[in-house]
Every structure is written in structure tokens, then in C-alpha cells.
Amino acid sequence: MSKFKKKQANTSQSVPTSAMPDVVFMLLIFFMVTTVLREVELQVQIDYADAENIEKIEQKRLVSYIYIGPERLGGNRVGETKVQIDDALVADVNAIRNIMYDKLVEQPRLIVSLRVDEDSEFGIITDVQQELRHAGTLRINYSTRREI
């Protein structure tokens, strides 16, 4: 009968946990590095358009955003289409030229990401693009979601 007796392992039953802080720290560092804290408060409403043939922007440091969409008023109401750069709405479209030029001086390889609401009309984007051309920031990117 003893032949069928279960073999009892001699090792201790507990999993060694001394390396757990290391593992956790590694995960922690990964998330700290990849975290981008939201730095702008959107004042315009944006639903992105979908597209299939899109590319990723690998170097986030180069990117500067321009938000174009209907202004958020209180509640669920939206107003007229406005342009937002960084934290503020741009009242005068002609001011974009100087703002973007200053950014270009800081970062010569600037990519401007246009985050445009899909229901916008193209006129305002044409105006912004003309301003970008005057500023010399020629690399742009129309922000879109991946089409599924």
C-alpha cells in the first residue's frame, strides 16, 4: 500500500515574497514614465473623425495641439466653432501666427496636431492652415481615430 502514498514535498509551502517590491517598483516606474498628466482643459467639444490609413506620432515632445470645435457652454449646450491653443480660446485667428511662431522657435521640428470636431466646416481650418503657413509650421497632422 505504501507504494501509492502521495509524495510529500519537503520544500516550504510559502511563495517567497522578498522580490515583490522589486516587481512592483518596476511596474511603478513603467507607469510613471508613460503617464502624461492631462495638462489642458478642453473648452471646445471634439468628436474625432475616423480614418483607416493613419500614422502614429512617436515623438510626443514635438507635438503641439490646436483644438477646433464648438465652444462648450454650461450644461450640454455648445456654441459657435472656436479655436483653442493650450489653455485659452483664440479670439483672433490672426494671433495664431505669432503663437505658433514662438513655439516653432522653441522646437524647430514642431508637428502641429489639428484636433478638429468632425462636424466642423472646412473654412476655419483653411484659416488656421494659412496662419500655420505664415508661421512656418508646415508639418501638420489631422488627429483621427482608427476606423474599425
Binding site: 515574497t17 515583490m20 517590491p21 512592483v24 517598483f25 511596474l27 511603478l28 507607469f31 510613471m32 508613460t34 503617464t35 502624461v36 498628466l37 492631462r38 473623425a49 475616423d50 480614418a51 483607416e52 490609413n53 493613419i54 500614422e55 502614429k56 506620432i57 510626443k60 507635438v63 508637428i111 496636431s113 489639428l114 478638429v116 470636431d117 468632425e118 462636424d119 466642423s120 466646416e121 472646412f122 473654412g123 481650418i125 483653411t126 492652415q129 494659412q130 500655420l132 503657413r133 505664415h134 512656418g136 508646415l138 508639418r139 501638420i140 497632422n141 489631422y142 488627429s143 483621427t144 481615430r145 482608427r146 476606423e147
Partner: protein, 180 residues
């Protein structure tokens, strides 16, 4: 003797709560992290023209795409469906001089995109997507022919990628907007 008195307690710092602290930080960063990858359609705007005349472009090398205020796509003044843009473009770019009305070579082919002030943005993006799709397909098949691997798996800035890009350069021109 000058033997100093030593405490009986162990000199080590108790590290058992280190994991808890790390977990707390980890959870905080997990919650605030947004891994939103920036994706989109890249484009290079033409610089503001100087007084110098742009070099003349032969009519056959130019494909005019107009998206008008009603959201209709017109290719060389003929209405066309958005879905047909890709095939039309591939034919146009990859013509290599066969058809006298189409481009002489992929290197000469220029796609000119014109919009109206009231063009809906999503139609414009759909159309641009098709244009990019046409180039992507041409580059894909060129890459498969030459190297036997898809274009997307070529390394960035490698010799192979540059070669394909030279074969099918993206020559997309944004037309000057109309005044008023």
C-alpha cells in the same frame, strides 16, 4: 577599552511595508495614466509662395480633387464617389506614361486637393484617407515585389524604406484657398 556601546536592535530598516507603499503609488499612476496614442493623417503644408512662379506642371501629371460645399467629391471636374478615389488614384499614379491623360511616372504625379469654405470636415478626412490609402497600397505592393515583406514592416529610415518612398513619393498639394 573604548568599546562603544551598541544597541541590541538590528540596524536594518524594516522593509516589509515597502511593497505597500509601492503598490499605493502604482495604483495612483495606473489610475491617472492615459495611454492615448496620437494617431492621425500626416501632411506637410506648402510654404507661402514667394514672388517666384511655381514650376509649370503638365496637365496630365495633375489630378485635381475638389470637395465642394455639398460634400461632393469632384475628380477633374467630374463627380465621383469617395470610395472610388482610391482606385482612380492608383491608376493615375501607376500609369507610367501608358495613358496620355494620366501621369508620366509616379514621381511626376501630383494630387491637388481643393476645398471650399463650407466643405464638411469629415468628408475631407474620408477623401484624404482614400488618397493616403492609394499611396499605402502602391507602396505595399512595391515593397512586396522588391523585398518580399510588407512596407509597414520595413524599418524606419532604412535604405529599403527610402527606396520605396522614392518610388512613390507623396506629392499632395493643398491648393491656395479662394479669396472671399
Amino acid at each position: 577599552m573604548l568599546n562603544k556601546k551598541r544597541g541590541r536592535e538590528s540596524a536594518e530598516i524594516n522593509g516589509s511595508s515597502l511593497a505597500d507603499i509601492a503598490f499605493l503609488l502604482l495604483i495612483f499612476f495606473l489610475v491617472v495614466t492615459t495611454i492615448d496614442v496620437d494617431t492621425g493623417i500626416g501632411l506637410v503644408l506648402p510654404p507661402i509662395p514667394d514672388d517666384v512662379e511655381p514650376p509649370p506642371v503638365r496637365e496630365r501629371n495633375l489630378m485635381n480633387i475638389l470637395v465642394n460645399a455639398q460634400g461632393m467629391v469632384l475628380i477633374n471636374e467630374q463627380p465621383a464617389a469617395v470610395a472610388s478615389v482610391r482606385e482612380r488614384l492608383k491608376e493615375f499614379i501607376d500609369n507610367n506614361g501608358a495613358d496620355p491623360n494620366m501621369s508620366e511616372s509616379p514621381n511626376d504625379a501630383i494630387v491637388s486637393i481643393k476645398t471650399d469654405r463650407r466643405t464638411p470636415y469629415n468628408i475631407y478626412i474620408d477623401m484624404l484617407d482614400e488618397v493616403m490609402g492609394a499611396y499605402a497600397e502602391l507602396r505595399y505592393s512595391a515593397s512586396m515585389d522588391r523585398f518580399g515583406v510588407p512596407y509597414s514592416s520595413l524599418e524606419d529610415n532604412s535604405v529599403e524604406q527610402d527606396e520605396i518612398q522614392e518610388m512613390y513619393p507623396k506629392k499632395i498639394s493643398i491648393a491656395e484657398p479662394d479669396e472671399g
